[in-house]
Amino acid sequence: MQWSRLFVAPSPADKTPLPLWLKACNFAIALLLISLAFYFPFQRLAYHLRWDSVYTYRQMFFLGWLTTISISIGSLLLSTTIGLLAALAQRSRLLPLRYLSKIYIELVRGTPLLVQILIFFYVVADALGVSDRYLVGILTLSFFSGAYISEIIRAGIESIGKSQLESARAIGLTRSQTYRFVIFPQALRQTLPPLAGQFVSLIKDSSLLSVISINEFTWNAQAVNSRTFSTLESYIPLAAGYLILTLPISLWTRYLERKHRFET
């Protein structure tokens, strides 16, 4: 019985696919190893998990989770719009617009989100008189994500070969027709995987909004912790809650990448 066959994949030259049961067993082994790695330190600390105290606050967790979802979706929509406008502005023939978007992108990508949240909330929102923290949170996150999305969209647009633009020009398409019929349909396929990745980042980054006391998931978990002093029991569900949101999107991204790999 060749034991190595159970755990070691054949050499890359051998292209036979791995059976599903083999992959499942080894995946389970990997999970087991990770669990053991966590189990032993906790055994030594003689830490007793008190789930019941946290269970009484389950409503807070759930509402916080829903708030995070709604902030993420709102920010996704707004940031995609901002990103699209910024990407087009960068290619605009109107020069001040072009430089405006370049400055915006460099500023936002060069500073930490936390710093932007603090500046936005304590300075900008105060000055503009925006008092709804929830709205400020969505705006800040959207401005932040918009810069990254615009770079993703720009890369997608620029990946369309020059020869295609020339072909479009030769058959007499106007600039906007070229965008509509040649560039965008193709750029969309290219940008969907990185865009989905950006959505995952958005969901995770929304946790930073807790510093301005927005009642989202992380803030609520911290509140429960401060009331029950059950740190791990508050933060493990917190992590799990984010995973429930991000894991499906990650898997969908992998699926998209695989699907489009053959479509050059």
């Binding site: 070969g161 295609q164 072909s167 020009r169 030769a170 058959i171 007499g172 027709q177 193709q186």
Partner: protein, 243 residues
């Protein structure tokens, strides 16, 4: 066609690619540009197509001068069918859609009519089995034939071919050349840049030899191939027809 080029000059990065090119052709259907690589043939073709602006000089087609300014140049481009060496088609559209796109969006045919025109051409050029395929699923020769069908579908007043078979293997080359030969027999006007000397000889009425940005020699096809006046032309023809 009546094609008139007067003192066309073009520089790229300080390098003089076209040097006072002048040509006046009347009642010629097929003009073939030949010559060594880098001689300026493609650039000249692109200027005629309205894809490149000459630094100086004038172009006039069938009595109408070509104005090198955007709105008018767009209109000019819409009356010219161009086929490049490669990468003509849009990869996200099927062969049929590649042909109907300019018909619908540029020449404003209603979709049903555009599809009918496209299908007639597809049938004529024996591409029926491939009309629903994307360019990635077609061979090089099939792609070029779709590109030619697209160029022809808009009923252009001039067809321009820039080395249409240079990227193809000999069998596909023959298919594409057959198609061009058919167009020639229909009496269409075109300007062709090619390295296929045998074909050039068969299809051309008038030949211009471009070398180092200048027209080394220009004349009816028989004269250029059988009795070239310039030694440079003689050398070039001998070299190319060697194998």
């Amino acid at each position: 066609m009546h094609l008139s080029l007067r003192q066309i000059c073009k520089r790229f990065d300080g390098h003089l690619v076209l040097d006072a090119i002048s040509l006046d052709l009347e009642k010629v259907h097929t003009l073939v540009l030949i010559g060594p690589s880098g001689g300026g043939k493609s650039t000249l073709l692109r200027i005629i197509a309205g894809l490149e602006y000459p630094d100086s000089g004038e172009v006039s087609l069938n009595g109408e001068p070509v104005v090198f300014e955007e709105p008018m140049l767009l209109r000019h481009r819409r009356t010219i069918g161009t086929v490049f060496q490669a990468f003509n088609l849009f990869p996200h559209l099927t062969a049929l859609q590649n042909i109907t796109l300019p018909l619908e969006k540029v020449h404003n045919h209603p979709p049903a009519e555009a599809e009918e025109i496209a299908r007639k051409l597809i049938d004529r050029f024996r591409l029926e089995k491939h009309s629903a395929k994307r360019p990635a699923e077609l061979s090089g020769g099939q792609r070029q034939r779709v590109a030619i069908a697209r160029a022809v579908s808009i009923k252009p007043r001039l067809l321009l071919f820039d080395e249409p078979t240079s990227a193809l293997d000999p069998e596909m080359t023959a298919d594409v050349l057959d198609m061009i030969q058919e167009l020639r027999q229909e009496g269409r006007d075109f300007v062709l840049v090619t390295h296929e000397m045998g074909f050039a000889r068969q299809i051309a009425e008038h030949v211009a030899v471009l070398s180092d940005g200048r027209i080394a020699e220009s004349g009816p096809v028989q004269q250029i191939f059988e009795n070239p006046a310039q030694p440079a032309t003689r050398q070039f023809i001998a070299k190319v027809l060697k194998y």
